[in-house]
């Protein structure tokens, strides 16, 4: 036993290591990245586990399935939107007879601190019919990870841990527990439970539904779903999930009574406990971080008419994060007095760093398109999305990882030309390549600009899965005509030359790819610092 100060993310990573983890995989994505960073550091230091970044969340998940097939414990990490990419193997893996424990950690981002949406991963766990743990603090994050592995091996299912930004990125003391040895390699015995041919999958589906009944039973007795009944206060009761619990506890001292309260930290949710709560109160106030997942289901669970308040009727805000303040109206508490009000202030939006190569790439693209009365520039997920803001205002669409390529292709094929797509190197490997193959097949008249800054910059400088030196051969290998793959170096002094190259390729009535290659300025600074420190 030891005490450690850990981020929520790090608590999950250490929890996994102490549960006999053998392999960890993931794709960087705020707020989940620090889980893998911790595992990779541990792996480099000790050599005890294998931990590595992958091209995307789907490949990461499939790697983890392979580890499970071999009988060892694997963890796979991603942000919420990453699970959209990994959804195929995730949903299907629920039908396998999982061998070594398989735990998927998904970090949601309510409030969209660094994301395109607020989607709630509990829906995915429910959809796949797998158990899901939701910790409310770092200690639970550590302990639930161990439990998740136990449940995974007990029922032979993948198990989800859902985190949110506020927990992933806040620090507190964690008391660590016993350390378990890793599993020995032991291949899954029954091939029939690992091949999802329709005839076999039908059986596995029935098996999964049987297991699901067990999860529901476990949920009723789970210590993570504590129910407190106050028999003397019927007016209302509370259901919390996730960090909603913390904000509720924060406000309890101001309530005149302690209402009946059910917290849900393990899913599938405990229906019987919800019914028991409802029998004891006239109204249920639901405070949950994320979508109104439980709230929407309450009506279907309860036999008697009970008033339900929460996100759907607007008593609790349906967008953004919960906090200790915005749940007060639902609890009937007044707004707290503050020393002063915040007046309108100029915002300080994030910006491309001084000296960032993307600035020079965007200037060249804008220069090359200046003579056209109409054009479109689609963009993607990464630092270069900041090119949307003035003074650049250089891009027109940001959708999801890899979408720039297909969106430009579709626009060009609909006659909107010239069509230029910009994508980062890591995002290209993540999910831009397949769309580029489509463009190769159709020889679509469009220009793809790969902004190769030789790193995954936005999420803190993780290594790109394939080094920059191999990008040309990858693009050529996908079938792009080498005569129309051009490399430029985005520097101010090259502006005229780069603009000319882009102009020429944009004018070409076929597919062209520009590799705009210069290292992320922050990474250059980091390396300089390291160099100095080593001297």
């Amino acid at each position: 036993m030891a005490e450690k100060v850990l981020l929520g993310d790090e608590a999950v990573a250490l929890g996994a290591i102490h549960s006999g983890l053998s392999n960890g995989y993931g794709y960087p994505g705020t707020p989940s990245s620090e889980i893998m960073e911790y595992l990779i550091k541990y792996s480099q230091k000790t050599g005890n586990i294998h931990a590595s970044w992958c091209s995307n969340e789907k490949t990461a998940y499939e790697d983890a399935i392979g580890v499970s097939l071999a009988g060892k414990r694997a963890i796979v990490t991603m942000k919420h939107v990453g699970l959209n990419v990994a959804a195929d193997p995730f949903i299907n893996s629920a039908l396998l007879k999982i061998n070594g424990g398989l735990v998927i950690v998904v970090a949601d981002d309510p409030g969209m601190h660094s994301s395109q949406d607020e989607q709630d991963s509990r829906f995915f766990a429910d959809f796949a019919k797998v158990p899901c743990f939701e910790p409310v603090n770092q200690q639970e994050a550590y302990e639930m990870t161990g439990e998740a592995f136990e449940v995974s091996e007990k029922y032979h299912v993948p198990v989800m841990i859902r985190l949110v930004t506020r927990l992933a990125h806040s620090r507190a003391v964690v008391v660590t527990g016993k350390e378990k040895e890793q599993n020995r390699m032991k291949k899954a015995e029954d091939k029939k439970t690992w091949m999802l041919l329709p005839a076999l999958a039908r059986k596995q589906w029935v098996t999964l539904l049987g297991k699901y009944k067990e999860f529901k039973k476990d949920s009723e007795s789970s210590l993570h779903n504590p129910l407190y009944i106050n028999p003397d206060f019927k007016k209302y009761g509370i259901i919390t999930s996730g960090l909603g619990k913390n904000y509720y506890l924060e406000n309890i001292p101001e309530l005149s009574v302690k209402p009946s309260h059910l917290h849900v930290g393990f899913y599938p949710y405990p229906e019987e406990k919800i019914k028991r709560l409802a029998e004891n109160v006239e109204k249920i106030i639901v405070i949950e971080e994320g979508y109104p997942f439980l709230e929407e289901r309450l009506r279907g669970i309860l036999k008697q008419p009970v008033e339900i308040e929460g996100k759907i009727d607007g008593k609790v805000p349906q967008t953004g994060e919960l906090n200790p303040d915005n749940i007060r109206p639902a609890l009937g508490l007044p707004v707290r007095k503050t020393l002063a009000e915040v007046e309108a202030l100029p915002g300080r939006p994030p910006q491309l760093c001084q000296g960032c190569p993307h600035i020079d790439s965007y200037n060249a693209i804008k220069g090359a398109l200046a003579s056209y009365s109409e054009s479109v520039v689609t963009s993607d997920i990464g630092c270069y999305a900041l090119g949307a803001l003035p003074p650049y205002s250089a891009i027109e669409s940001i959708i999801c990882m890899g979408a720039s390529v297909g969106t430009a292709k579709g626009a060009a094929e609909a006659g909107l030309k010239p069509a230029v797509a910009v994508i980062g190197d890591s995002t290209f490997y993540h999910s831009g390549m397949t769309a580029l193959v489509d463009a190769v097949a159709a020889n679509t008249p469009m220009t793809l600009v790969i902004l190769d800054n030789c790193i995954v910059a936005m999420t803190g400088g993780q290594e790109t899965v394939v080094p920059s030196s191999r990008l040309f051969s990858v693009v050529k290998g996908l079938g792009v005509d080498p005569a129309h793959i051009k490399t430029i170096i985005p520097l101010k002094k090259n502006h005229e030359e780069n603009t000319a190259v882009l102009k020429e390729e944009i004018a070409y009535e076929g597919l062209s790819v520009i590799l705009s290659v210069r290292e992320c300025i922050e990474e250059t600074k980091r390396q300089l610092k390291k160099g100095k420190a080593n001297k």
Partner: protein, 187 residues
């Protein structure tokens, strides 16, 4: 005892190290601590905000409630005004005096000072000048911790020990500069 702090500034100003030092110091004094921060986009010249909660009993929420913070520590004066509604009626403000101007519509600095000075308990510190005096302009955040030390529920000896710990890998000279900056801020 419960002491909630809002730490503010701009990406790159050392706000998170500041939070780490106070948190480490508080733990050395056997207090419970929760510290929350937002990574990602905030790092690129945007606002940085960290909630730091210190208590002698269990803390539930990672976030400080409005109207309850005992202290705002800021590396930048405009950033103070963004969070004043977190302050409790007798809350303190400790801020660096130097504006960080990376936006076109940055207000007149005298107006900002005027608004801060209207609030009851404030210290506006020439952190850069004192940091240079200590030996490095990069130690401005240590000046600010020093300036806040009389208000913090953490002993100066624990705060200094935390400073030494944070810079332990950087050698004695760097530690000394940072400790000196802390002391100049505390004066």
């Amino acid at each position: 005892m419960k002491f909630d702090i809002i730490l503010a500034g701009v990406g790159g100003q050392g706000v998170l190290s500041l939070a780490a030092i106070i948190a480490t110091g508080a733990m050395k004094d056997n207090l419970k601590v929760r510290q929350s921060e937002v990574h990602g986009m905030a790092q690129r010249g945007g606002e940085v905000l960290s909630h730091l909660r210190i208590s002698d009993s269990e803390i539930s929420s990672d976030l400080v409630a409005k109207g309850t913070a005992s202290l705002i520590i800021s590396m930048e004066p405009l950033e103070v005004l963004r969070y004043v509604d977190f302050l409790s009626p007798d809350g303190f403000i400790v801020t660096a005096s130097e504006p960080f101007i990376n936006i076109p519509d940055y207000p007149d600095i005298e107006i900002i000072y005027g608004k801060i000075k209207k609030l009851k308990n404030h210290k506006i510190i020439k952190s850069l000048e004192l940091a240079k005096k200590a030996g490095s302009s990069r130690a401005a955040n240590m000046v600010i911790i020093g300036a806040a030390s009389s208000v913090l529920p953490v002993s100066s000896s624990s705060l200094k020990a935390a400073v030494e710990e944070l810079f332990s890998s950087k050698g004695k000279d760097i530690i000394d500069v940072n400790l000196k900056a802390f002391e100049l801020g505390a004066e």
